[in-house]
């Protein structure tokens, strides 16, 4: 067949290019633009070089927030991944229980972030919240507005409530793809419950777990809305994560230069960590 050589194909990808340019490339470049310049309004810009980056990297404010982020993500992953696996293993495989469980599991995922925040903000309040009042009447001193530990516990419990379902659903999808013959063969081979998990279920869940792990890491590392609604970063700075700090800096204080530099550093950290996790997990997969 005769092939026609022309550049018409470029017109076909043009809409996508335009879309990506407006949604990603142009905003990102604007941020880059702000991060290397100083401005006092009136569209006047002065070259600042890497000054803003140095400022950010030398500030305690940045490192404290980063460490909070890392601790938060670590706790979230340590709870949600094992809990998700355990719940998925115990979900029914057939019958009326399946749709019921799936809908129940999907419910928290369908609630918008700020609504989740509001629900827990009200739920935990000591004066009117169901949880706050109950704990208070039990004699437990709980106040997420005053006590940093309580604030952290509230945020973690809220995130677990909101996102464990995602891990459950992904694991469940991995589990139901295992043919019955595997379980039957394991019975014939006299495998224990633990061996079935270790040698059949876990290997089959590996890929979906990788996805769950990455999604939960990225999401929790970028968490903004819920702590903003529930604690507003407080008490003190105890729940001020990078995202909250960034918004404070950019919109509260209008420090556009440092905020832009922080944005880029933030973005690079997530990219780097995700890449490291992905590489480590996929190479262990290839070797194992």
């Amino acid at each position: 067949m005769e092939k026609t050589w022309n550049n018409k194909a470029w017109f076909m990808v043009l809409p996508v290019l335009v879309l990506v340019a407006f949604s990603a490339v142009i905003p990102l470049m604007t941020v880059v633009n702000y991060s290397v310049q100083d401005t006092f309004g009136n569209n006047e810009f002065f070259w600042a070089g890497t000054d803003w980056f140095q400022d950010v990297l030398e500030s305690n404010r940045f490192w404290d927030a980063l460490i909070r982020n890392l601790i938060f993500s670590a706790i979230i992953l340590a709870i949600e991944i094992p809990l998700g696996i355990v719940i998925a293993l115990n979900m029914p495989k057939k019958g009326i229980g399946v749709p019921i469980c799936l809908v129940l599991m999907a419910l928290p995922l369908l609630i918008p972030w700020n609504v989740v925040g509001t629900i827990w903000q009200v739920f935990g309040r000591v004066d009117i919240g169901l949880l706050g009042r109950t704990l208070a009447s039990l004699g437990i001193h709980y106040n997420y507005v005053q006590n940093p530990l309580d604030a952290w516990v509230t945020l973690i419990v809220m995130d677990v409530w909101h996102w464990t379902s995602l891990v459950v659903l992904l694991c469940y999808a991995g589990l139901v793809s295992i043919p019955d013959a595997y379980y039957q063969a394991a019975k014939i081979d006299g495998a224990s419950r633990w061996s079935v998990f270790r040698y059949i279920q876990l290997p089959k869940m590996k890929r979906v777990l990788l996805i769950a792990f990455l999604l939960r890491f990225m999401d929790s590392f970028m968490i903004y809305t819920e702590p903003f609604v529930v604690t507003g970063g407080g008490p003190g700075n105890s729940t001020t994560f990078l995202s909250i700090d960034l918004v404070k800096m950019a919109i509260g204080q209008f420090d556009l230069g440092p905020a832009a530099a922080l944005s880029i550093i933030y973005f690079l950290i997530i990219l780097l960590l995700s890449w490291i996790f992905y590489t480590v997990m996929t190479t262990s997969d290839a070797q194992g």
Binding site: Q184, A185, I188, Y199, P203, G288
Partner: protein
């Protein structure tokens, strides 16, 4: 190794079976002799696998008892029955090495490691997977994986029975032959009781001493390959065994003669048939001879398959198949004769014996 008795076994997958049709497995009473090689033959969905899973304990039968050497094991779990089973599609533990895969059933039963090593090496040698022992099983091809599944079934020396559920489906024909002979050799060597499920008649007939033919949830005939060929107890066995299957023609019986269409055929016995039963005459294509004498037929097609020719024809307005030698002559005005000894008479699909 054990003698296995199935005592009035029935199974329905639904919770409350109401009628006979709700049963995937209709009543089965059968004894599998210790050390016998049996083939369970039948079309898909006839209950073969259900019967196999009942023996291994993966399914609890709705009714009836299973006995191993006279001991009731109906409510014993698979693990405690000491049965090996190989499935249709390869099951491997793909994070383990080939060696560990084969050792898995033994280690789970706390067999001493020296014994494990000896048994596993033996199986690795048998399956020709020597170079793979230390590699992960994941990278193997489908038939290598199935060899491991087979190997895991054969590695235990003390099993009551080994059950095969169409284990060679995914293996290519040449390898099939090799593996089947190896299984047969092992059977001779160790005398396991073996039950081999298949829908491939050649596989069943070459593997087993006794073939159990199942149809629609029941056992229709148990016999040697020769018995199944010469005296099918049920018209289904006639159809299913043989290539092409038995010709089954509607007939009327009067004394020792059968009338098919306008033709009257002499029988060498007097079948006793109940009034009102649906009577059929069965004759295998191998036992019809074509020539210038006999009853007229109209030939529709001749298929030459190499060793012999299959003649498709119409006899008494019914399609029949006839097998003719490769150099057999087909006259212009063909006529057929039926070998009297090879004629079977069926009443409502079940064979009416000479003795009856």
């Amino acid at each position: 190794m054990a003698r296995i008795n199935l005592d009035h076994i029935r199974h329905a997958y639904g919770a409350k079976p109401k009628s006979e049709t709700d049963y995937a497995l209709k009543e089965v009473n059968h004894e599998w002799n210790d050390g016998g090689a049996y083939a369970l033959l039948g079309p898909s969905g006839c209950g073969k696998t259900t019967l196999l899973n009942i023996i291994s304990g993966l399914i609890n039968p709705s009714e009836g008892r299973i006995l191993f050497d006279g001991t009731d094991v109906t409510h014993l779990s698979t693990q405690h029955r000491n049965i090996a089973q190989v499935f249709q599609f390869p099951v491997i533990y793909d994070t383990m090495t080939v060696y560990d895969n084969l050792a898995f059933p033994l280690r789970n039963r706390h067999v001493p490691e020296a014994e494990v090593d000896r048994r596993v090496k033996e199986i690795i040698e048998m399956t020709g997977l020597g170079g793979w022992a230390k590699k992960t099983a994941r990278r193997l091809t489908a038939d290598q994986k199935q060899k491991i599944s087979l190997g895991r079934g054969l590695v235990r020396s003390d099993v009551s029975a080994i059950l095969f559920d169409e284990p060679l489906t995914v293996i290519d024909p040449e390898m099939k032959w090799v593996l089947r002979s190896q299984i047969k050799r092992l059977h001779k060597q160790f005398g396991f009781t073996m039950v081999y499920v298949t829908h491939d008649q050649t596989e069943a007939l070459t593997f087993a001493d006794k073939v159990v033919v199942m149809y629609d949830g029941q056992i229709v005939q148990i016999g040697t390959p020769a018995e199944l060929f010469e005296r099918p107890r049920h018209t289904f066995v006639g159809y299913f065994i043989g290539s092409p299957g038995m010709n089954v023609l509607p007939a009327d019986i009067a004394g020792d003669r059968a009338a098919v269409g306008g033709e009257s055929i002499a029988l060498n016995f007097q079948p006793k048939v109940a009034a009102g039963a649906r009577i059929e005459l069965g004759i295998r294509p191998e036992f019809i001879s074509i020539g210038r004498e006999g009853m007229p037929v109209a030939i529709t097609k001749v298929e030459d398959i190499g060793r012999h020719k299959i003649v498709r024809a119409r006899f008494a307005d019914r399609p029949i198949s006839i097998i003719v030698d490769e150099d057999g002559e087909i006259p212009a005005e063909p006529r057929v004769t039926f070998d009297q000894k090879a004629i079977n008479i069926y009443a409502d699909s079940w064979r009416v014996g000479e003795e009856a």
